[in-house]
């Protein structure tokens, strides 16, 4: 009786692999991108009856097709990167700040308020106006960002509240405050505030956004050095890895939580200041445009390394711009491009699994026993 019974081994099983060296790991990532492009091509062909190669070409053109597009790409990359820098110190501490959207928006509101109420007051200074107005805008913006980020941190440090919920809720408060500001002070009643470039950041040559981009790059390097080489950055890593270890060596965990979120808030202040003072010169409830949430992905994909975040934010901005281009070039529904973005991200994130595990097929599966 026992002879007739076959042993049913599973088809495959998953085995943890040893850490991969750099090149094979890069190979797996490249393979993931290729696989993503192939699957996307199939989806494009089936859903929109377009030639996938043409679609990819248009996607590429969306970012690199003209100098205006390249500038747009650089600007969007810089802003996404800047917002990602907001969440990164907190994430490194395993403080899940999902309120970057609100922190940046409230900073933007502070900036716009300075421009709106003080801009003309300082007109008598003539050429010297920016030297007074801009520091005020920046200071107000940073203070607002710190306030928005430190409130949840204090609650977390003192009463161990859930920072995810708290920071999320702060987003809605910021959005509502902006809506209130627009309703109250936009005289036309349209709810759209006229841009005030005359009170904005100075322009280098005729390159509108260059200054903002350079500031973000400098900030990226500063945050990288701070996290990696400063004593405070070391404390952040220790608290993030293990609160018990931090207490054991005498780190004041509450202080580190509040201090780190103050830094996050200050970066949010810079982000809001650049968005409003340097780029838009006005504000709406969608000024941050969801970057506060996309930033979470940018930061995670880069494993919280600010320099790697340049690459991950490029990737995401590139795909967003490409998706917009596809839907306008081929006159397809924008949801198609969203599907493509989804597929590509799925493969890129999914390939992390194959970096850590391998699948072993059982050879002797069909052997008779």
């Amino acid at each position: 009786m026992a002879r007739e019974k076959k042993v049913h081994n599973p088809l495959f099983h998953v085995v943890k692999r040893e850490p991969l060296p750099f090149l094979p790991a890069l190979g797996i990532r490249a393979a993931a991108v290729v696989a993503a492009l192939i699957v996307s091509a199939l989806v494009i062909t089936v859903l929109s009856q377009q030639n996938p190669l043409e679609v990819y070409k248009s996607m590429f053109e969306g970012s690199f097709g003209s100098s205006v597009r390249i500038w747009n790409l650089a600007l969007n990359l810089a802003m996404l990167l800047c917002v990602s820098l907001v969440v990164t110190p907190a994430f490194k501490m395993k403080f899940w700040n999902i309120g970057a959207e609100g922190q940046v928006l409230i900073s933007g509101l502070a900036t716009v308020a300075c421009m709106f109420f003080l801009g003309d007051q300082f007109a008598f200074l003539g050429d010297k106006k920016p030297y007074v107005l801009i520091p005020i805008m920046l200071g107000a913006s940073i203070l607002a960002g710190i306030l928005w980020a430190v409130l949840p941190a204090i609650a977390k440090a003192l009463w161990n509240t859930n920072e995810t919920l708290f920071t999320l809720m702060m987003n809605y408060i910021a959005i509502q405050l902006v809506a209130y500001f627009l309703k109250k002070y936009v005289k036309s009643g349209s709810g759209v505030l006229e841009p005030m470039p005359q009170h904005g950041l100075p322009v280098i040559g005729d390159m509108d956004y260059l200054l903002s981009i350079l500031i973000v790059l400098a900030l990226t390097v500063i945050v990288y050095v701070y996290l990696k080489h400063s004593k405070q950055g070391y404390e952040i890593s220790v608290v993030g890895e293990s609160v018990n270890t931090a207490k054991y060596i005498g780190i004041n965990v509450k202080k580190v939580i509040i201090r780190t979120l103050a830094i996050s808030g200050a970066i949010a202040g810079v982000a809001g200041f650049l968005l409003v003072g340097g780029i838009n010169h006005t504000i709406s409830t969608t000024t941050v445009g969801g970057r506060g949430f996309t930033a979470i992905m940018v930061s995670w994909l880069a494993k919280f390394n600010p320099l790697t975040m340049i690459i991950t934010s490029f990737l995401i901005v590139f795909m967003e711009r490409g998706a917009e281009q596809i839907s306008s070039d081929f006159n397809v529904d924008p949801s198609i491009s969203d599907i493509l973005t989804g597929i590509i991200l799925f493969f890129i994130i999914g390939c992390e699994f194959f970096l850590q595990y391998k699948i072993v097929f059982n050879k002797n599966r069909k052997e008779e026993v």
Binding site: V238, E241, S242, Y248, V369
Partner: protein, 508 residues
């Protein structure tokens, strides 16, 4: 093939990444037999058992139950084959009573808990388990919980029982009770596999011993024909001395005087109750007790990590001869007083070290604040890391490899090395050899003795009474957060300590 064989493994191999946990392991256990599986930590004992009980699936090899090849893909498969495993960490629902835990997960349309209780009671009586089936798990001692786990697998009809280090958490008296029950089960025709690394238990209980070393199967011997020395050699692969050197203490001075410590935990339960003792320089003070009797809280209180509700901790500075009260001071305040207190906590990777950082960065934990610059100084820690790697023979690719990737023994060497590098006057170590192989354990014992010879007051919390009795000059026994006795390590008997370990509980 012998018909009496209940379970047989042939050529079992299992790898995790580059770690080979089991390599071509053969094993068999007969009905009516107790088989010990002996091996050092990391030798693959638990992995092997997890494959038999369906938690892992072997990469290669086959398992036979009662002579038939089987494929065990899940714990449910194992259960259907009448294999029952009692894990090191109990898997019980705290708010349920014993009966409810035992019947939990059984299928059947209509379930009669009264009838089940009667049947469970019969099982208990048959093998001589003493247990109150209506008692809630949270009211139970560790030994009672273990009994529930064993009754659970028996009630479900297991014929092959696997026990993973069942004695690690028991007192000597409880171990004797457990052994009596296991012998009765053996006489009833059950096949029993017991994983352990305590040699005297192997010799006392089992019929045969299978030895694993570094994942490889070394061989099986009849217990009657082996000795502690011969088994150690099989386990380690070389001859080693099992004696611990214990020099007489000299020039002892009262270094740390603890008086009447009281401490409540977060739930308001009194975890330390009027603890008083003196730790002397040039001496190893052992702390014995059942796990969770207040050892952790006591050491953390001294290190400044626990709020106390009463008592004092007086430190006598050897240089200034000043007496400082350390009670309710933070670790930084203690350090700023010039108190050189080193602490090797029980939870090495969760408290003593940061698992994702390299050895050099972990060295920095104690020293990163030095200097006025806001940036880290990485040269000195790196030097210290390399010195510890050389001196203590830490096996690691380099000083930057995350310490969580090192083996338990190497992790511990890094931690103890760092704490000793601070040239402490008081050195506290909680379970410093837990999970370490024999060679690493002896390295740690020697390091502690070395510190004692240098005049450090060493406090050693241990679980193996034999080691405590061989290593320590005096042994303090904790039971339920109270000191039930301080005995001389050279003259005390194991049974005496065992009784002290459970003293206040029985008194209640």
């Amino acid at each position: 093939m012998n018909n009496n064989i209940a379970l047989e493994c042939r050529g079992i191999t299992k790898t995790f990444g580059h770690v080979v946990a089991n390599k071509n392991v053969n094993l068999s256990v007969k009905r009516g037999e107790i088989l010990s599986i002996l091996g050092e930590n990391g030798s693959g004992k638990t992995t092997l058992m997890n494959m038999i009980s369906g938690i892992y699936f072997p990469d290669q090899g086959s398992i036979f139950v009662n002579g038939t090849e089987v494929s065990i893909r899940s714990p449910k498969d194992a259960f259907n084959l009448k294999i029952g495993m009692i894990h090191q960490h109990f898997k019980l629902v705290d708010v349920f009573d014993a009966t409810e835990n035992i019947v939990l997960g059984l299928s059947g349309k209509k379930f009669n808990i009264k009838k089940a209780k009667k049947e469970i009671q019969e099982t208990c009586d048959k093998y001589g388990f003493e247990i109150d089936l209506s008692k809630k798990i949270y009211d139970m001692s560790v030994s009672e919980k273990q009994t529930v786990e064993i009754v659970k697998v028996l009630y479900r009809g297991a014929d092959i029982l696997i026990l993973d280090e069942p004695t690690a958490v028991l007192t000597p008296q409880e171990i004797q009770k457990l052994f009596a029950v296991l012998r009765r089960m053996r006489d009833d025709g059950k096949a029993i596999i017991i994983i352990t690394h305590k040699l005297h238990e192997v010799l006392e209980l089992s019929d045969r011993v299978s030895v694993l070393r570094k994942g490889e199967y070394i061989g099986t011997v009849n217990t009657a024909e082996s000795t502690e020395q011969s088994l150690t050699e099989m386990m380690v692969g070389e001859k080693i001395s099992l004696d611990i050197d214990r020099p007489e203490p000299h020039d002892t001075k009262d270094r740390l005087v603890v008086k009447g410590l009281d401490c409540f935990n977060a739930d308001g339960v009194k975890v330390l109750d009027d603890i008083s003792f003196v730790a002397k320089s040039g001496e190893i003070l052992g702390i014995a007790g059942i796990a969770g009797s207040g050892q952790r809280e006591l050491l953390e209180a001294i290190a400044g990590l626990q709020k106390l509700s009463g008592g004092e901790i007086v430190y006598n500075d050897p240089k200034t001869e000043k007496a400082e009260n350390l009670r309710n001071k933070t670790p930084i305040e203690i350090k700023n007083l010039g108190v050189r207190l080193s602490f090797v906590p029980e939870d090495r990777l969760g408290m003593g070290l940061v698992g994702n950082m390299g050895i050099a960065d972990n060295m920095m934990l104690r020293s990163y604040k030095r200097g006025k610059s806001m940036f880290l100084e990485r040269k000195e820690p790196k030097k210290l890391a390399n010195k510890i790697i050389d001196d203590l023979k830490v096996v690691t690719p380099d000083a930057n490899t995350p310490v969580r990737r090192l083996s338990g023994g190497n992790v511990q060497k890094v931690l103890v090395g760092r704490e000793i590098a601070a040239s402490p006057t008081v050195l506290m170590a909680a379970y410093p050899v837990r999970g370490l192989d024999i060679n690493s354990s002896y390295t740690i014992y020697n390091l502690l003795t070395e510190q004692k010879e240098k005049g450090v007051a060493v406090i050693f919390v241990g679980e193996d009474l034999d080691v405590l009795l061989d290593l320590c000059d005096r042994i303090l026994v904790l039971s339920d957060g109270r000191v039930t006795g301080i005995v001389d390590g050279r003259t005390a008997k194991k049974e005496e300590i065992g009784l002290l370990m459970t003293k206040s509980k029985e008194g209640k």
